[in-house]
Amino acid sequence: MNLLEISDLAASVGSQPILRGIDLNVCAGEVHAIMGPNGSGKSTLANVIAGREDYQIDRGRIALEGQEITTLSPEERAHRGLFLAFQYPIEIPGVSNMEFLKAAVDSHARASGDAEITAVDFMQMARSAAEQLGLNPEFLKRGVNEGFSGGEKKRNEILQMLMLKPKVSILDETDSGLDIDALRIVANGISEFTNPTNAVVLVTHYQRLLDHIEPDFVHVIANGSIVRSGDHSLALELEEKGYSWLEND
């Protein structure tokens, strides 16, 4: 089943077009990688899917489980099962990680008409997710991303994903800023999370994350459109040749 369907998506910032007609279908159980050089539109695509207001959609559609989501607010998209791991997670001093996570989890429960999870169950869930990612559970008490290292911030994004259990996760350069050990831990967290009912889209610059999570499909974005799609071997080819040979096509 198609979880995420994007057809002829064009988007701009101000009068500057960034995406120029993107088509992408992501089915349940699949892992996709979106690669491309700096400024190609990868992060814009991720943010437009999540509903960031800074971008204007010029044409095309985005559907989640067959339903159009382009008119929905970011929180409604999240409630329907969309998750974006930020390239640059935001620091929010004064709000504890725990409060933030609980508010997020509760909002999902309310949206789906479920009872809110008890504080005890929530703590247990959060601690076990933190441990799975090699994070000291004490960090749950700290301000959201406040004073976290680059690697801790990225792990915190994955922690949120594990807690919210989205259907489609778009991970925007989650591998950047991670050392080799952290990369392995994060990759394992993502791999363990994937199952036949959900899907993951890895937006990345480098092939190295794909050594740990083998993608079913690799797409290359250049100048706002997908210029090549293939399997994992495409990523390996890019690693060897760089992006310029595709841009010059």
Binding site: P74, E75, P93
Partner: protein
């Protein structure tokens, strides 16, 4: 804004026959008021708050009976009328208040109709004293913490006029928590503190506003090693008004002061903050900092903030900063992308902003911060 009718104010004060503490010497204060100018609308200190309503005869107390007894919890908290504290009162009252600078405090002194004295003996460690509402219009609180003594004072006030004077003796420590729930009238507050050498005073003040509310704070650093830490947070909505005027006066070398104030202003509310640091010529090796950060979440809200430095010594460390900002849209999107609706996200972000300076449960409750 009209003008304060100084002549009729003075006339009324001269005719006023005090029934509370009739033995207080009021002559100098009256003379001073006759000589000095009363606050003028649009003057620097009253630029954004109309002073006229503070002089309304709304509070005529001439027919008040004898003051009620003050609720006394610890043994050393006593009403002003007690003979045993008469000496303390005459020794200390107005010693921390510059009446020329604070004429409303001078008027309040003349008309004082209730009060409380807290006296902590040298070396005594008092855990905590709470002062709630006092039964009077012109309230006076004297807090004397003798050498090497300690006190935690918790004060709640919505009263319309309260002057608090604190004396921190050498090596003494006073921790002052102050809560100001919302009011409906015209409130005037002055907290004036004298800190002697190696004395330490910390204020955590959590405020909302009133129709008009003025908070004057005056700190005198009077000895080497004296420390003042002032923290304040406020949350204003609807048409609430809060005018904070702080003056930290370093009169002696080797003192330290730190000020951190944060406000959140919504709807049509108005927040004024003026933070003055005065460093006298002899107050070398002073270390003084001041920050005021404001979060404005409505286009109709008004925020005025101004740091004011007067430095006459050349070997000091002094820094200040004031900001007025809005909620970070990146942070809002971050919350929304996790499913947290915009209204909830805003509320959590505002609480988080204030949370960084709000350090105790009462303040958190007042400002709606979950503990």
């Amino acid at each position: 804004m009209g003008l304060v009718d100084a002549a009729s104010v003075i006339e009324a004060l001269e005719a006023f026959e005090p029934r509370y503490l009739p033995w207080l010497d009021r002559r100098d204060t009256l003379a001073l008021l006759r000589d000095s100018a009363l606050p003028r609308p649009n003057s620097e200190a009253w630029k954004y708050t109309d002073p006229v309503p503070f002089f309304d005869p709304q509070d005529d107390v001439s027919d008040r009976g004898e003051p009620n007894a003050i609720p006394v919890t610890p043994s050393h908290t006593v009403g002003f009328e007690s003979d045993s504290v008469r000496t303390l009162v005459t020794t200390y009252i107005n010693q921390a208040v510059d009446q020329r600078r604070y004429p409303l405090a001078a008027i309040s002194y003349l008309k004082v109709d209730c009060g409380v004295v807290i006296h902590v003996e040298p070396g005594d460690e008092t855990e905590r004293i709470e002062i709630g509402e006092l039964d009077g219009q012109f309230q006076r609180v004297l807090v004397i913490v003798e050498a090497k003594a300690r006190l935690e004072l918790i004060e709640t006030t919505t009263g319309s006029n309260r002057i608090v004077e604190c004396f921190v003796a050498p090596g003494a420590k006073l921790r002052h928590r102050r809560l100001q729930p919302p009011g409906t009238g015209v409130d005037y507050n002055l907290v004036a503190i004298n800190i002697a050498e190696n004395g330490s005073y910390s204020l955590s003040q959590y405020s909302t506003g009133a129709r008009l509310r003025r908070n004057d704070i005056s700190v005198n650093i009077l000895g080497a090693g004296a420390e003042a830490e002032l923290t304040g947070a406020w949350q204003l909505n609807e048409a609430l008004h809060l005018d904070n005027q702080i003056s930290v006066n370093h009169m002696f070398a080797g003192g330290t002061s730190r000020q951190h104030f944060r406000g959140n202003v919504d709807d049509r509310a108005k927040s004024i903050f003026n933070g003055r640091i005065y460093i006298a010529p002899n107050a070398q090796q002073t270390n003084a900092t001041l920050t005021n950060r404001n979060l404005v979440v409505s286009s109709e809200a008004e925020v005025y903030t101004k740091p004011e430095l007067e430095i006459y010594a050349n070997d000091v460390v002094c820094s200040h900063g004031a900001t007025v900002g809005q909620l970070d849209t990146d942070a809002l999107f971050y919350f929304q992308s996790r499913g947290i609706g915009e209204a909830d996200a805003r509320a959590i972000l505002i609480r988080g902003f204030l949370n960084e300076v709000v350090s105790h449960a009462d303040g958190r409750t007042l400002l709606g911060i979950e503990t």
